[in-house]
């Protein structure tokens, strides 16, 4: 059994997939930042290789319209073992020369499709749950925390919607930030060192909290239902729940 360790990027992962297809013996894939210390398996470091990555990408595109997007979204979930499930799904697809996505009776394909769906839903949810603070001028910023790596799926939306603003959304756990401005967006590494808290934006935050409390109908109070849609773990960065 060989552990294929790839650098943490989509291109790096596709390069490792290419390598996995060449191997007849058992293998597992793992991100470089998830592997530390000694492992029982033989270890092979796979560097990102653009031509290999492109071949895998083209292969996925030939299988079906949604295969690459589904694999990418599932990969962003960073779930344990999702890389291996993606490889197994692609092996079945390439082996039978068919779009593997409808074959939900196969557990590895089902795992990939469900992970992708869940990541997509969470990314959509966080388009609404991200609260921006006005820093100065046209600059607005927010902090973001999630088990999934959702920022790459949110860039297009924030760039298009806030066309006259510059936005920075920081993911401290992954030390990266989504940066938008002038009609473009990208994911950048955050500099090393402590991440300073965002400055307060008190006037409109107070107005928002006041509105949030006023608009709920007390005769229909249902905190359990509220928690179902806004779990406690998501409330740290939500203005309306701070101070409660």
């Amino acid at each position: 059994m060989t552990l294929l360790v790839y650098e943490n990027s989509w291109e790096g992962f596709l390069s490792a997939v290419f390598e996995a297809f060449k191997r007849k013996d058992g293998f597992e894939l793992a991100r470089a930042d998830c592997v530390c210390g000694v492992t029982l398996f033989e270890r092979a470091e796979i560097a990102a290789h653009e031509p290999h990555a492109r071949r895998v990408q083209r292969g996925m595109d030939r299988l079906g319209d949604a295969v690459a997007a589904t694999a990418y979204q599932a990969w962003l979930s960073e779930k344990d073992g999702i890389e291996n499930s993606i490889v197994m799904m692609l092996k079945r697809g390439f082996g039978e020369n068919t779009d593997p996505l409808p074959l939900l009776m196969h557990p590895e394909i089902r795992a990939v499709v469900l992970a992708s769906r869940h990541v997509g839903r969470e990314a959509h949810r966080f388009l609404g749950l991200t609260r921006l603070k006005h820093v100065h001028g046209d600059l607005y910023a927010a902090d973001f925390t999630h088990d999934y790596n959702l920022l790459p799926l949110m860039g297009e939306h924030f760039c298009a919607r806030f066309g006259d603003q510059r936005i920075v959304i920081r993911d401290a756990a992954r030390r990266q930030a989504l940066v938008t401005g002038r009609g473009a967006w990208e994911i950048r590494r955050l500099p090393e060192g402590e991440i300073a808290p965002l400055p307060p934006d008190s006037m409109f935050e107070d107005l928002w909290r006041s509105y949030f409390d006023a608009i709920a109908n007390p005769a229909r109070k249902n905190l359990k239902l509220q928690q179902k849609f806004v779990p406690l773990k998501y409330r740290a960065h939500l203005t309306e729940f701070q101070g409660k």
Binding site: Y140, L207, I215, A216, K221, L225
Partner: protein
């Protein structure tokens, strides 16, 4: 700021009875370098303490009102704090909330200030500042005031994504009794005008790529449930008529929270009929997405929805001759009739079927709720339901006890005081789908 805060508290609180929260159905592309766009699927931004989605700044332009509708918190005779936003301050508030990603846009209603036309002009003033001066591309839903001039409705439609006229109560007689200043023709005429104007602009849009948009997210309405003795069958027939004849996108149902002291209304303090509202929404989905007619969901002999089972299960229990359905042969509409099979899982069955015959173990993986569906579905000649198929046994298995107990926490739902047979209360002339 304290002034603005106070106004926002009063006018946000006054708007909480409006159930509509949707920001979907339209889709407005933003302009490069400018603020705002709208997604056709809508985005929810947060959820209030009542569990309802908050995706817009939902406020009244003013809660001053010349009308005295018996069921309304803001009626003229009620002693409540009154406030009015100026168009500039409401537009500024909307923009600043939008910039911080608190909202998708603005939901604007109002009490009637002086007269319907004056009220519409105030609201159009706010939208005009947003769209024309501030180039705001976000979502705007505007309430149309019954009785307003058609030229003002035309102006509003060119600025808003969605328009709505509240039908308020499920029959003309109820309206006459509880809101005599709101004439039925003042509600139906603007609805018809919006439908016709929207249709005309849609036709123009097919021919000219730069034709302006008129209320691209369509129109909706809302009715209050539990304030009057109108049955669920009357409500559903009216909704069906609104969907078919007025081409509405949505009908919203709002459980009545008793505040008035009119002799026909439930007394203040009576719990709102939340479970009945929930069942009506389920029945509404059957009308819109499951190809049901209102007369299939309920009959004159039994005009009230079953509170213990959802309307689709209730239909299935009444029609055992329709089942079992073969998952490998049935068409889409037939599959939709099976309890536990929704629109998404029915589509998945059709897609998976193309790759090979389905067996019962495949169905669960396609998202079908086999706990219910197994009594009504076969696959590959196999039936996973029980040998017992009698009505009480199935009914017990399909009952939604958890939901019923949650929504019936308040022991006695609001009961209207007037009792009347269904046929004595016509809905709205020209809208009844029967």
């Amino acid at each position: 700021m304290p002034d603005l805060m106070k106004k926002l508290e009063i006018l946000g609180d006054a708007a909480k009875f409006d159930a509509s929260c949707s920001t979907s159905g339209g889709g407005r592309a933003g302009k490069p370098g400018q603020l705002g766009n709208a997604h056709s699927c809508g985005i929810c931004h947060t959820w209030g303490a009542d569990g309802r989605c908050i995706s817009m700044l939902k406020v009244l332009q003013s809660n001053a009102c010349i009308y005295n509708c018996e069921y309304c918190h803001n009626r003229r005779e009620n002693d409540v704090p009154r406030a009015t936003f100026s168009s500039e301050e409401l537009a500024e508030l909307t923009i600043e909330f939008y910039r911080r990603n608190y909202i998708e846009g603005l939901f604007l209603s109002s009490g009637i200030v002086k007269n319907p036309d004056h009220t519409m002009e105030l609201m159009i003033g706010t939208m005009d500042i947003l769209r024309r001066k501030r180039s705001f591309g976000g979502y705007i839903h505007m309430k149309t005031i019954p009785g307003a001039d058609q030229l003002l409705i035309d102006k509003a439609g060119l600025l808003a994504d969605r328009l709505s006229v509240n039908i308020e109560l499920p029959s003309e007689r109820s309206l006459e009794l509880l809101a005599p200043q709101k004439k039925p023709e003042n509600i139906l005429t603007p609805m018809t005008h919006i439908r016709n104007t929207q249709s005309m602009y849609l036709e123009d849009g097919k021919k000219f790529s730069h034709a302006p948009l008129f209320a691209p997210a369509g129109q909706t309405t809302q009715m209050i449930i539990g304030a009057t003795p109108d049955s669920d069958l009357s409500v559903l027939r009216l909704s069906e008529g609104l969907y078919r004849k007025m081409k509405l996108k949505r009908v919203y149902y709002s459980a009545y929270i008793p505040i008035g002291t009119h002799p026909t209304l439930p007394e203040p303090g009576t719990p709102p009929p939340l479970l009945r509202e929930h069942r009506l929404y389920q029945a509404d989905f059957l009308l819109r997405f499951y190809s049901f007619d209102a007369k299939e969901i309920l009959e004159h002999s039994s005009p009230l929805l079953d509170m213990e089972v959802d309307p689709k299960c209730a239909w299935a229990l009444r029609h055992p001759e329709f089942f079992p359905v073969d998952a490998n042969r049935a068409d889409y509409e037939t599959l939709l009739r099976v309890p536990g099979v929704g629109t998404v899982s029915a589509r998945r069955i059709l897609e998976a079927r193309r790759l090979g015959p389905l067996r019962p173990e495949n169905l669960r993986k396609l998202g079908i709720v086999m706990k219910r569906a197994r009594f009504f579905l076969t696959a590959g000649g196999k039936y996973e339901g029980s040998a017992r198929h009698d009505h009480p046994f199935l009914r017990e298995l399909l009952s939604d006890h958890a939901q019923v107990s949650q929504l019936s926490l308040f022991a006695d739902p609001a009961q209207p005081k007037l009792a009347a047979p269904v046929s004595a209360l016509p809905a709205f002339s020209g809208l009844d789908s029967a």
